[in-house]
Symmetry: C2
Subunit: 467 residues, 2 copies
């Protein structure tokens, strides 16, 4: 159904308007929309205002905010294709904090072009990929006055904080958000040089714990050797989470986790992957659970990682104190078969059991999200693979994503529909780290693939979706 790529009028318009696309993205990137920290409320509001304006200008109807007590989501719809399926197009406008700010080579909220890359917090996760989706839809409406399928667009503001109120937003807007599938502009490409679709993502559970060992900080000379040190207790607790060889040591943590099947192992082995180059680029050596290859550990095995650890004196010089409190933030990446609540409970139980006399433990848990797998014969998955096949001339790989898209799990549980991730960010683009960037080539790849996919979906008719 689709025209040859080179002559597609929608794609041509996207190419002609490249400068406009990047300028609108730069404006969105300048909005400091960090969802985890209330200090950034103004940036969150600015990002929403820009998106509301853009969707309305592009021709979406019913453009509005959807609220459920947290950061609102931005919504818009175009429903002018009766008899065609309805896609819930997903993206998110919130970003991770810019810390550590001093390691950025250019200001995190100032889009900066260097060597074929666009640097800014959120460039790759997820304002850039969301923009690819929005701009493609806008170009269809501008050039053809219509979209090949019905589209409801939902741009979340809480992806980076575990989609805290997304479930409530869905619950409160079931009719409004009813669709045949979720087409996600978040989720990321595995690599830039090999076409692939991530058919699954790991889940996440998180907690923060505090260890208190005395009523106050104590002088390390006057009390050294007789009282517990909260930093040593926290260090032992962290160290106790894994055996010396990297195997998770938390009782019950691996309950329900299946070993990769022989077929899965064979498929993994067939994926071209340069183990040595991978670790060399990261400046590190392999680590993690023994007995599994890199991609197995990344896609099929759960993890426990400390994301932050702090206590005592951290300023310049020394301070001879025995700190009475230590804090740690932990997150667990989950795989299919693991129950997020049970995993969280197992880790909390482990910490409680390992907390020594004289120390008190307090734990605060976050909003967990289960792992997700899209059915292998899902029509949106098949269409996405066809679009990639057509625009790249290569057979796309089915891969998984070590990261989490809470949306898939939440939407599946609430609206009963599946999610296909069709993002054009790439795994190495320093999400959540200093100097986050997106390749400018992602806009070429992404526009071509999104245009082809939308045309394919429109050509299928809604009957392909009656499952």
């Amino acid at each position: 159904m689709s025209e040859p790529v080179g002559t597609d009028r929608v794609l041509a318009r996207l190419r002609d308007d490249r400068q406009g696309v990047l300028e609108r993205l730069a404006t969105l990137l300048a909005a400091r929309s960090v969802s985890t920290d209330p200090a950034y409320a103004e940036g969150m509001a600015a990002a929403r205002a820009l998106l509301l304006e853009r969707l309305a200008a592009a021709g979406f109807a019913n453009v509005r905010l959807l609220q459920a007590g947290g950061h609102p989501a931005v919504y818009g719809e175009w429903l002018g294709a009766p008899g065609q399926p309805t896609m819930l197009v997903y993206g998110h406008y919130d970003v991770q904090p810019p810390d550590p700010a001093e390691l950025w080579r250019s200001p995190p909220f100032e889009a900066t072009m260097r060597e074929g890359r666009l640097y800014a917090r959120g460039a790759s996760d997820d304002k850039g990929p969301s923009s690819i989706a929005i701009e493609t839809l806008a170009a269809f409406l501008a050039v053809e006055g219509r979209l090949p399928v019905n589209v409801k667009i939902l741009l979340e503001g809480e992806e980076e904080i575990g989609s805290a109120t997304l479930g409530a937003i869905l619950d409160g807007n079931r009719e409004l958000l009813a669709a045949d599938a979720v087409l996600s502009a978040d989720g990321g490409r595995w690599r830039a040089d090999i076409p692939s679709i991530a058919v699954g993502s790991r889940g996440i559970a998180a907690l923060e714990f505090t260890v208190t060992t005395a009523v106050k900080d104590l002088h390390s000379g006057r009390y050294g050797g007789v009282v517990p040190n909260a930093l040593h207790v926290a260090a032992r607790l962290l160290a106790s989470l894994h055996d010396a060889d990297g195997t998770p040591a938390v009782e019950g943590f691996l309950d329900g986790v299946a070993e990769p099947s022989a077929a899965e192992r064979a498929a993994l082995a067939a994926i071209p992957f340069d183990d040595a180059g991978y670790y060399a680029d990261l400046g590190t050596a392999p680590a993690g659970e023994p007995g599994y290859g890199t991609l197995e550990r990344l896609w099929y095995r759960p993890t426990i990682d400390a994301n932050g650890l702090w206590g005592g004196y951290t300023g310049a010089g020394g301070k001879t104190v025995i700190p009475n409190a230590a804090h740690a933030k932990l997150s667990m990446r989950l795989v299919p078969g693991q129950d997020p609540a049970a995993v969280t409970a197992a880790v909390v139980r482990h910490l409680e059991r390992h907390c020594p006399p004289g120390a008190k433990l307090s734990v605060r848990t976050g909003h967990p999200s289960a792992a997700y797998l899209v059915p292998g014969d899902h029509p949106l998955l098949l269409a996405a693979e066809a679009a990639l096949r057509e625009t790249t001339g290569r057979e796309p790989l089915r891969v998984r994503n070590g990261a989490t898209l809470p949306l898939s799990d939440i939407v599946h549980g609430r609206l009963g529909i599946d999610t296909v991730m069709f993002s054009f960010s790439t795994a190495d683009e320093d999400f959540h780290a200093p100097n986050e960037f997106i390749r400018l080539s992602a806009f070429d790849d992404g526009f071509a693939a999104w245009v082809a996919l939308l045309r394919k979906l429109g050509g299928q008719g809604a009957e392909a979706w009656r499952r």
Copy 2:
């Protein structure tokens, strides 16, 4: 030789001038003289200016700063007692940082009276005790026009940072600082309710280490399970420093450390000490090296304590990152027989050996100081005990100090003289912690004891000091 306490004119003047004493101390406490952080340079200068002015006004001669490239020491002398011994009276004007500032009930640099205590950073360590010495000497000069002995007063500005340039200051001023003994206003009382003299103090060695596991922070989903996490590496390194039961696990750490003798153990056992009450007051349980009592661990055993530990995201909310760097500050308290340089080298070697593949370790070491013991028959020690016996009516205990007075070690090595600690701060006064305070009763106890001691020393004549 001394007059009865009740009628001593010098002591009477100190009592009459109580308000003036506390006001001058409050002004000194308001000077933010934190030596470890260059941001406090102005407060350091302010404290020095106040002390220079006070010594000159009191009648000291040759009042000046002594410099050797670090924070200068304040010096003054009164040498009008020929035939009498010369005391090098020591104190320090620098203080620990006020962090964590939010835990202070009143501003750390604003002297605040509550329930018989004076609260401020430095109240107890060591501006309060130093003031007791200075005010006593000033009162002698004001009332009697002379001191019972010759006095050189030295107020250091680097005690809280390991007396970095004190050795160089002594080296550069050997003649100026020549004395028969050091009478220290630092060092602290063991308890407020039992007269005691600390005849020894532990030494200290410190280091800061950084663990780096990758070229950058990595997304905990996209890389979780395949790369090392700097926080886990640092936690394992910290945990490796002790066995599970609290025994130091660093090879060579205990080299040269003698077990307490039977006599020492008997003396320790005779000291009234409420173990249960001690730990209950601190809100904790006993910890440390097994096989030793609380006072043995505190006075006869060395320690390794983390004073600070940090890495990753420590702000509000979560950030799903695998941190590529973690930092820790360690300090070791040393006992007689341990060589500070050898202990430092042993800990560094241990860290290097335990650092796993994929992680890089860098270590920065500080200025160490050996443990110190004053000879049991030293004339200044005997005079100090006699002064306490007279002013309290009780036999003073000989105790040790778990903390470090780098001065004793440095002075003994350079000037060949011993140090007796005669401070009236008390071990429970939250040195180095929020809400540091000094008991107002310390001024009563301290003035009486300092007046008595100076009179006793004057009565001995210099011949008692020919050893």
